[in-house]
Structures are given as C-alpha cells and as structure tokens.
C-alpha cells in the first residue's frame, strides 16, 4: 500500500505564476522516489506544498493523501500533528535548519517531546541514541554541543537524526547532500540508507545530482517547468529514457568513468514559469521537435510497465532505441595545435615551488595576540605548460582557494616561489605586475557575485580593456560577446537580465578580453545546472584549443575535472597528495585519499552504483590550524588502519613527499605505501578476488 499519494498537485504563486502544474506520484513503504530537475523546475515547491509549508498567499490545489488522509486544506493545528511525526523533511542547508542558540541534543529532544509523551530525561536519552544511530562519535558529549560546533556533515547527520526521531513513514530530502563535500556526501547517503532501514520509511529524494539518484532511488520522476515529464523505474529512466529532456540530461553530465570528447549540451534555458511556451514546454530546446509539439502540451501518459512519459514521439524513441547522443547535436571542438609539441618542450606558464601561505590565528578584542597558525597552504609545487589544463581538486578547506588567491595577487609568497610566465612574483616591480595581469585572468565561481550588478555587460567586459589602455573598445566587446556565444546587442543589458549560464559566459568573455595566456578558473561550472554546465564546459574547451590558452582549474567536482583537465593535482589539508595526468590518477589512483575521493563520487549509472564498493572515510577534515604530524591524511586513512605498528610509525613521524610512481611517466603520490588501485568501477565481486 502506498504511504503518500499525490494527485494533480498545482501550486500558484501570487501574480498567477504556476510553479507546479499537475504533479502526481505515489510512494510506497520502504521505497525511494527520486525527483530530478533543474533549478526552477518546481521540485522543491512540490515538497513544500506537501508539507504545507508554503507561504499563506500561494494557492495549492489537487490532492495529497497520507495513508488515505487528505492533507491539502487540513487545518494548521491538525497539520502540525502530521508534520515531523508522519512526514519529516531534511533540508539542504543544515546550518540554517538548526536554531543556533540551543544545543543539538535539546533540539532533537524537542522533536521527540512534541509528538511523544515522554519526560525530559527520556527524550534526552533518545536524542543521544539517535545521534549514535546516525554515526556521530561520542553522542553523549556531542549532544550538548551547539550547531556551530558541528561540521557541515555532522550537522546534516544530526538533521537526519531529528527527522527520524518519531519513526516517520515518509522522509522528504530536499538536496540533502548538495552543500557537502563528496566524501562527506558518501557518509551522509550511507546514514540515510541506514535511517531508512531502521524506520522502513518511504523517501522522496529531491536533487539535481543524477549520480545520487542512481545510487539511492528505486523510481525516478523527472520534472521540467513545473510538470513531470517522465516517470519510471530507475533502470528504465537511466538506460531507456523516452523523453528528449531526460535523454539530454543524461547525455550532458560529465562522468568520472567517461571517455573524452565534447559533452552534449541542451541548448537554451529552462522557461520561466511566468511565460511558458505554448505546447510542450521543452519544445524550444528539443532537437526532436515537430510542428505538433507547439500545438498542445503532451500529457503524462502510461507507456509500458510502471512508466509514464510526456512526449508525443516517445513511441518512436522506443522503437529506434534513440539515446541523448543520437538526438542532440554533439558539438565539434577543434583540436589544439599546441599539444602536438611534447610537454617537455613547451614553455611553462605557471610554476609554483613549495609555496607556503599561513595565516595567524588571533585572539582577544583589545590586545590581539597570536594563538596559533592556520597552515592554509603548506608547501605545494606544480607547473603548467602552455596549452595545458591543470586541475586542483580537493574538498573545502584544503587550501585550493588560498593557492589561487596567492597566484592572482602576484605578491611575494611567505615561502617558496610563484613564477608566472617566467617572472618571479617576489622580484617584480609594479609596472611588470600590471603588465602581467594582462596575461593572467580569472573566472569566478558564482557568476552573479563576480559581475557588478550595477554595470551594463558592455562596461563589465570593457573594464579590463580600458584599464590596460586598449583602443577600439566597443568593437572588441562585440567580438568577445560573439566569441562566447552571446549576441553583441546584449552589451547594454545588466547582468541580472541573464541566466546563470549566460552570466558565466560574460565572466569568461571578460577574462578573455586581454587575450591572456593563463586563465584561473575557480569552480566555473559548480553553480550551474547540469544542462547548462555542459555548454560552458564545451566553450572552455573550445576556447582553450582555438586560442592556445592554459588553465588552472580549481574544482571539487571530479567528473568535470576528468573532462576538462589534462593533469590533476589532488590537495589535502594544504598539501598535494597526488599529482599526474588525468588518465593515470583517475584510472590508477595511488594515494588512499584520491582513492576515497574517487570512490565517493556517485555515478549516474544505477547498475554500477548498486554493486559499487565504496571506500568510506571516517570523520571530518582536521583543522588546518593543527594538522596531524607526519602524513596529514593518516587520521582518516583507511590504509593506515591496516598497517602494522612499525609501518604506522613511519606515517606518524615522517612526512611523505611526492614520489614518482614507476608505472607512469607523469604520476606521483605523497604516500609511503602508495599502491595503485582501480576504484571508480570497483565492485564487491572484485574485492573477493
């Protein structure tokens, strides 16, 4: 029997904007339903409507039945009895989901006491049990901690503990791991699976990450422009999609096990809910569009066992067995001329030699005194040859951003050397520095924050040109806009009139304005939707090849890195753990951290995900103010645990330096006991061999 039955749910916001236009689904006991869609597709609004958490002035119609009991139109005082008891929700941002002034234990106990008649002590004890269940070490001590004393991953676990406090029948998880690092994400997803086994609840998992859905969900609902466009079992959706949008979405994601070549982008942008196109909302972006698509919006009709598709050409797709790569035009990216020259003969554009960046840790309001040192970057070395992309990957707090800032500032580092295009930053004068800025540009992560909201786009792109005294600025601006795939007429618009992907293109145009030789990319696609992301990645690749650029690419998304980078450096706690060509690092990672990182990334492939063996890391990143002695990774290292006491001593006492591995030309790892292992496609069967 199904726990939750949603029928024709619509949500209309004031002003007549329909954010959700008829969503129907059922969730059964112990089942995981994944809802995927891009931002603005109405997936979060749907779940808020089910919980009755939308603003007062939005109109909700349709039917939501929990155990046959209608929730829409239920009185607020009735609804609070259901909320948190039968349905629980896990939010994206665990910091804002907790009250900062109460301890975690109190807040979980409160959730228990609201719905169960137990006394305070019992509730507190239950809170500790719950924290133990979600894998928080020393739960009795940690229960007395405040939310800010928890790390992001621990907060999300505590959130899960709170959600399952009353044995709910249904858990709604709204992007539960989006704000977390991959290794933490793997931990949290594991906890979520445990929580489900423990309570037997149904889960509605809302996310944009197709990898997470592949590993978690039994059934998938794909949403587009406020409507489900395809629904079916996870295998059907991933292996036999029948709606062009789903096909495009699956084809556009970069994969860590994927091959090289251009990604398949979906052209255009999702429509705004205020002005939907007539007929099928996906038609303007659909390569399979026929005239009939514009006439009427296709309804979601059953197609085979347990499947629903909203596309008039679904039959045809099924017959011909089409996939996203067949249907969507695959862009052709011209090859680069530079790479024909062997790497050793190419000039080096950027060289870092044991660069150090420490921050003092100060205390005291009136008399500040130094109480410690944050070892943000602790001696890293790498170099980038012309026409090459080096990716710097690692989790938050590993020192990626500090490294990048140190390079961009062109100031003398605290220790070591930074050499940009053959010029050492510690010995350059102001004029050289300014001239060098022409050749060194940056693209920021958040395309909205990086563009001055009060400046027309034309001025934004012209700014570096004017700063370096270029003539003929307007013609160059038009040329640049065209280069990144925007119309030159857009120059008079403000940044906010553009979508995220377009804004990032503007940021790229600005970086290209002075024809730089090296561009630093700070997570350039992580703020974008999947279908948009592919287009921007392709653009970056194309620009690199046609203009002979070199990139320093900072990212946490290893799948994107595999696609874009030639070489990769994995950072952990201010040090490089492993460095080498993308092929060797991804296929034969030698450092235990890289192995864990790669194995933590969910693959958009349900079959593989089910059998995959994960290397789960314990705990969180240690504080860079107090890094462990010897090897910095040893506190979380799965390999360290398996070593003998003698071998362990070496890890504790001696800091490993990067040693070249014998098997590859360009591959090194900073581990005393490095051994190459294949992890991306590792499954349980392999383990037994």
């Amino acid at each position: 029997m199904s726990i939750l039955e949603v029928k024709d749910l619509t949500v209309t916001f004031p002003g007549g904007v329909q954010a959700v236009r008829g969503v129907s689904y059922e969730v059964e006991r112990g089942e995981v339903l994944g809802i995927v869609g891009e931002s603005g597709s109405g997936k979060s609004v749907t779940s808020l409507a089910i919980m009755g958490l939308l603003q007062q002035n939005s109109v909700v119609s349709g039917s939501v039945k929990l155990h046959g009991q209608e929730l829409i139109g239920m009185k607020e005082d009735e609804l609070v009895k259901v909320r948190g008891k039968s349905i629980s929700m896990i939010f994206q941002d665990p910091l804002s989901a907790f009250t900062p002034v109460y301890t975690i234990g109190d807040q979980i106990a409160e959730a228990v006491r609201i719905h169960q008649k137990v006394n305070k002590d019992k509730a507190a004890k239950r809170a500790v049990e719950l924290l133990d269940l979600v894998g928080i070490p020393h739960p009795d001590v940690r229960a007395k901690a405040f939310p800010h004393e928890f790390s992001g991953g621990m907060r999300q676990r505590a959130m899960i503990a709170m959600a399952i406090a009353n044995d709910p029948d249904l858990l709604i998880c709204d992007e539960p791991t989006t704000a977390l690092d991959v290794t933490i994400q793997a931990q949290v997803l594991e906890v979520l699976k445990t929580a489900q086994q423990e309570t037997g609840a149904g889960i509605v998992m809302i996310t944009h990450d197709l990898g997470v859905i592949a590993g978690m969900a039994d059934r998938v609902l794909v949403m587009y422009a406020g409507k489900p466009v395809e629904q079916g079992s996870v295998d059907d959706i991933y292996y036999r999609p029948r709606m062009p949008y789903t096909m495009g979405l699956l084809a556009s994601i970069p994969r860590i096990d994927g091959e090289e070549g251009a990604l398949v982008p979906i052209e255009g942008n999702p429509p705004s809910p205020a002005s939907l196109p007539p007929g099928c909302p996906f038609a303007p972006r659909c390569p399979m569009k026929v005239d009939m698509c514009d006439e009427q919006e296709p309804p979601l009709v059953p197609s085979g066992a347990g499947r629903h598709v909203a596309c008039i050409r679904a039959q045809e797709i099924e017959h011909k067995g089409l996939t996203g790569a067949d249907v969507f035009p695959v862009p052709v990216i011209p090859p680069s001329d530079v790479v024909r020259v062997p790497r050793a003969e190419r000039p080096t554009v950027l060289e870092l030699d044991s660069m150090i960046r420490h921050y003092p840790l100060m205390k005291g309001a009136v008399f500040k005194r130094r109480v410690g040192t944050v070892h943000a970057v602790d001696g890293i070395s790498f170099d980038i040859a012309e026409g090459e992309t080096l990716a710097l990957v690692g989790e938050s707090g590993c020192g990626k951003t500090t490294t990048l800032q140190q390079i961009m500032q062109l100031a003398p580092p605290q220790g070591g050397r930074v050499v940009v295009l053959g010029k050492d930053s510690s010995t350059m004068d102001a004029a050289t520095r300014k001239a060098l800025r022409k050749d060194l540009q940056i693209v920021f992560q958040d395309p909205m924050a990086a563009l001055d909201p009060r400046m027309p786009v034309g001025d934004i792109i012209a700014e570096p040109l004017r700063a370096h005294g270029r003539k003929d600025v307007e013609a160059r601006v038009a040329e640049l806009l065209e280069l990144v795939g925007l119309a030159p007429e857009y120059a008079e618009r403000y940044p906010q009139q553009f979508s995220g992907g377009q804004r990032q293109r503007i940021g790229i145009a600005r970086a290209l304005a002075l024809e730089p030789k090296l561009i630093v990319l700070d997570e350039p696609v992580s703020a974008l939707d999947v279908s948009i992301q592919a287009g921007v990645i392709n653009l970056l690749e194309e620009l690199k090849n046609t203009l002979g650029l070199s990139y320093l690419f900072v990212a946490h998304d290893l799948a994107v890195v595999r696609h874009l980078a030639d070489r990769v450096a994995v950072m952990y706690l201010g040090k490089i753990a492993e460095i080498g060509t993308v092929q060797s690092v991804y296929d034969h990672p030698a450092h235990p951290y890289t192995q864990a990182l790669l194995s933590a990334i969910p693959l958009p492939d349900p079959e593989l995900e089910r059998n995959r063996k994960r290397i789960l890391l314990e705990g969180d990143l240690p504080s860079p103010a107090d890094p462990p002695s010897g090897c910095r990774f040893r506190t979380r290292c799965p390999k360290f645990a398996r070593l003998s006491a003698d071998e362990q001593r070496r890890c504790v006492d001696e800091e490993p330096s990067i040693a070249r591995l014998a098997s590859a030309v360009d591959h090194g790892a900073a581990c005393h006991y490095a051994e190459e292992v294949e992890v991306i496609t590792a499954s349980d069967d392999q383990e037994e061999k």
């Binding site: 990086a450 909201p453 906010q496 600005r510």
Partner: protein
C-alpha cells in the same frame, strides 16, 4: 556605456521627468517671477499691512507691508541654491570619506573615522556660531560650506560599513586582479552599488538644509534681515499661521513643492541606476 544606459533609463522614467519639469519650473519662478510681480522685494507698501491676498498683492503682505510674492521668490532663490548645494556637498563628502575608510581600512580608516567622530561630538551649532560672524562680510557660500561640513558624518559611517561588506564581493576582487587602481574601484564599483542610500540621503538633506538654515538664521547667523530665505519666512510665518495663513502657506507650499520635485528626481535616478527596477 553605463552613463548612456542610465541617462536613457532616467529620461524614460516618468517620475524623473515630472521632477525635472517641476524643479525647472520652480527655478524659473524664483528667478523670472520677480520681474512679473508689481513690487520689488525691498519695497514696502505702507497702505497694506498684513493684507490678505488680493489683485494688488497676489500673495498678501507681511506685517511691515512687504509684498509676500516678491519676498518669497527672493527667499526661494537662496533656498534652492543652499538646499541643493548642501545636499550635494554633504552626501558627496559622506560617500567619499566613508568609502575610502571602509575600503582601505587600517590607518586610513582610523584617521578618517577619528575625524568623523570628532565632528560628531563637537557641537556643530556652536562652531557655526563662532565661525559665521567672521564670515559675515563674506559670501553666503561660506554658509553653505559650513552647513554641509556638519551634516555628513552619520551617513559616512553607514557608507563605511556598507563598503566593508561590498569590498569582499567577487566583482571588486575581479577588478583588482584586472589591475585597476583602488581609487577607481571605489568610484566605479563601490559607490554605484550604494547609490540608493546616497540618493535618499541627498534628497533628505535638501529639505533639512533649508530648514536648518532657517534655525541658524533665527539665531542671527546665515541669512540676515533684510535679506530673506524660505526658511526664515517659514519661521516667522508659522507664528501667525492661524491668523494670517498666507504668511505661512505660500513659503511652506513652495518648500513642499521644491522638496517633492527633488524627491521625484531622486526616485527616478534611483530607478535608473538600479537594474532591478522595471520602470
């Protein structure tokens, strides 16, 4: 490109257009109006004390027989100039001092904020009282400078704290990495992003300068009789507002119109600068 876009948006904005028309009309009235009237502002009609508006004295007369129409327009000439100039100078000063202090931090911040705090604790009224007699012979423009010099400090503190948060934005960093000098970043990226606050501050300053000038004049500084300003007229007229309403209504009405037109222009400018507004 920005100035072109902003100007076009400004002229397309109805509020701004009405405001401009009203302000230009008021300036015309103030400077051309006296030639149309029958009396000069220095003349006194001893046949009509405190007479109500009539065909002869359009806006009535004062207690010493001055034609209120001529006197009010004379006063407005001064007040428009004082109001607009004080507002521009004080808001401009607030923006520059606050933005530099907030952006550079360190000793620049400390020195500038020390100055701000000094000016805040000094009784400005007393200072003006001490300084203005020495300037009596001089130009009334000195008076504008004095009024402006004591009305910008609080705004500059607000500007400073806003700058400190704007400084961390990525687009400011991006400009720095492009090799743009810091003072240019302040004028190009930081001040425009505070324009809403600055415009509101400037429009408020217009009316408070006109009224503030009246208060000082009342104590014998600034505009001295027989010369008049809108502020002094309102101050004297308000005493008799119930018995002889025209003494109060006409100067006060003109002040309201003046402030209204400035506000309309300010709103229009704010909309024109703010890409988020659709008007």
């Amino acid at each position: 490109m920005r100035s072109k876009v902003v100007l076009r948006r400004l002229f397309r904005n109805n509020q701004a257009r009405y405001g401009f028309v009203a302000l230009v009309a008021l300036v015309l009235v103030a400077y051309v109006g006296p030639y149309i009237g029958k009396y000069d502002w220095t003349e006194k009609d001893f046949m009509a004390f405190l007479s109500a508006p009539s065909a002869d004295h359009w806006w009535g007369t004062t207690s010493i027989g001055q034609d209120l129409y001529a006197v009010t327009l004379r006063g407005m000439q001064k007040s428009i100039l004082i109001g607009l100039m004080v507002a521009l100078i004080s808001t401009g000063l607030a923006a520059i001092v606050g933005a530099f202090a907030g952006y550079f931090g360190g000793w620049v911040d400390r020195v500038l904020m020390w100055g701000v705090e000094l000016l805040l604790v000094l009784p400005s009224f007393l200072l003006i009282a001490i300084i203005s007699p020495r300037l009596k012979s001089g130009n009334w423009l000195w008076f504008v400078v004095l009024l402006a010099a004591f009305s910008w400090m609080i705004t500059s503190r607000v500007v400073r704290s806003m700058t400190m948060s704007l400084r961390e934005r990525e687009y400011v960093q991006a400009a720095l990495y492009m090799g743009i000098p810091r003072w240019k970043i302040i004028f190009r990226h930081i001040v425009p992003n505070m324009s809403s606050l600055l415009i509101i501050d400037a429009t408020l300053n217009v009316s408070s300068a006109i009224i503030g000038e009246a208060a000082l004049s009342f104590f014998g500084f600034g505009i001295q009789p027989p010369d008049v300003s809108l502020g002094t007229l309102i101050a004297t007229g308000s005493d008799n507002a119930t018995g002889y309403p025209w003494l109060f209504v006409f100067p006060a009405g003109l002040l309201v119109l003046l402030v209204l037109s400035v506000n309309l222009i300010g709103d229009g400018l704010r909309d024109a600068l703010d890409p988020g507004s659709n008007s």
